[in-house]
């Protein structure tokens, strides 16, 4: 009975939405803004990856808001789960492969992460994706050695300074008389690593922050003593 209700509900909702959405023109979006951005983005931001120029330039404040959400979620999770850094009893010590593999993977992951972050304005990828990899790099030792503590002070330093430097870069533009978060220092060398002015810096901040945030979250989830 329950499943039937669910089926009816889901089916009804889906069908209704579908009947509306089928009126849309699939594959030929109006793209008013998208078209406009595509034509000027490389010149205005110096990034070949237009998604990056949207994320950090045209919609920079969205990204700032998103970083704040992540920060808020991490802080709230910290608040909920408390600060007790007891070693995890639920996770068992990793085996040989995990331990040594983890140790070996750590520099590799760090390199990949930073590479993805720094090439975010040129190729797919960027701060979020790189940040996740950084988080994985930070978290891996924890998985391998439950006894090892993640350095929380370090982590919160990184997240604090990364987040605030994102804002600071924006504020510098404001102080220069430009608008908040206006891209600066754009070189006329499209396609090069240094072409996009402040964008890679912003992405670095994003990546570090995301990495630190997620690593903190994961360690919170993994570390706190289970009371159940």
């Amino acid at each position: 009975m329950r499943n039937l209700t669910g089926l009816l509900f889901a089916g009804g909702l889906g069908f209704m939405l579908l009947s509306i959405a089928s009126g849309l023109d699939f594959g030929a979006p109006p793209m008013l803004v998208g078209e406009a951005i595509q034509s000027v983005a490389p010149q205005e931001t110096g990034a070949t990856n237009i998604v990056t120029s949207v994320v950090l330039g045209y919609r920079g404040i969205d990204t700032l808001g998103e970083l704040s959400i992540l920060f808020a979620a991490a802080a709230a999770a910290g608040l909920v789960l408390g600060r007790r850094h007891t070693t995890a009893g639920t996770l068992t010590e990793g085996g040989f492969v995990l331990r040594y593999g983890g140790a070996m993977l750590f520099p590799l992951l760090m390199t990949i992460g930073f590479y993805i972050i720094f090439h975010g304005h040129l190729t797919p990828g960027g701060g979020f994706q790189g940040g996740v990899i950084l988080a994985a790099a930070f978290f891996l030792p924890l998985l391998a050695r439950p006894g090892a503590r993640l350095h929380h002070g370090m982590l919160s330093m990184i997240e604090g300074f990364a987040g605030s430097s994102f804002i600071l870069i924006g504020l510098v533009a404001l102080a220069e008389g430009e608008a908040f978060l206006q891209p600066m220092l754009i070189q006329d060398t499209l396609g090069q690593l240094v072409s996009a002015g402040t964008l890679p810096l912003l992405y670095l901040a994003v990546g570090l922050k995301v990495g630190a945030e997620l690593a903190g979250l994961l360690s919170h989830l993994a570390q706190t003593e289970s009371e159940a």
Binding site: G27, F128, V132, I133, A228
Partner: protein, 103 residues
Amino acid sequence: MTEIELWIAALLSLTVLSAAVLVLLVKNHIAAVAAASVVSLGLALLFVLMRAPDVAMTEAAIGAGLSSLILALALRRLGLWQIDGVKSRQNLIKAINGVERDA
């Protein structure tokens, strides 16, 4: 999208949708989390087809990877980490007590 891509997309859609239904229907929570990560993975592939490599990367890294990791860690903490469903002996106790309705 070429026609072949469309067919691939259709196949992926089917996978994603059935995985989504599975998430809700399977009894075992680990299986549910796994199914959820299949949904994410399928979506990531769909995003590639839809010419959204950035999104695909993010979905794969965050949706399929990180999110599943979080859920899995949470499962441990929640005491729902039971690979073979509910153990028969505990099942009996639950039936007697009528208390535990989690699994």
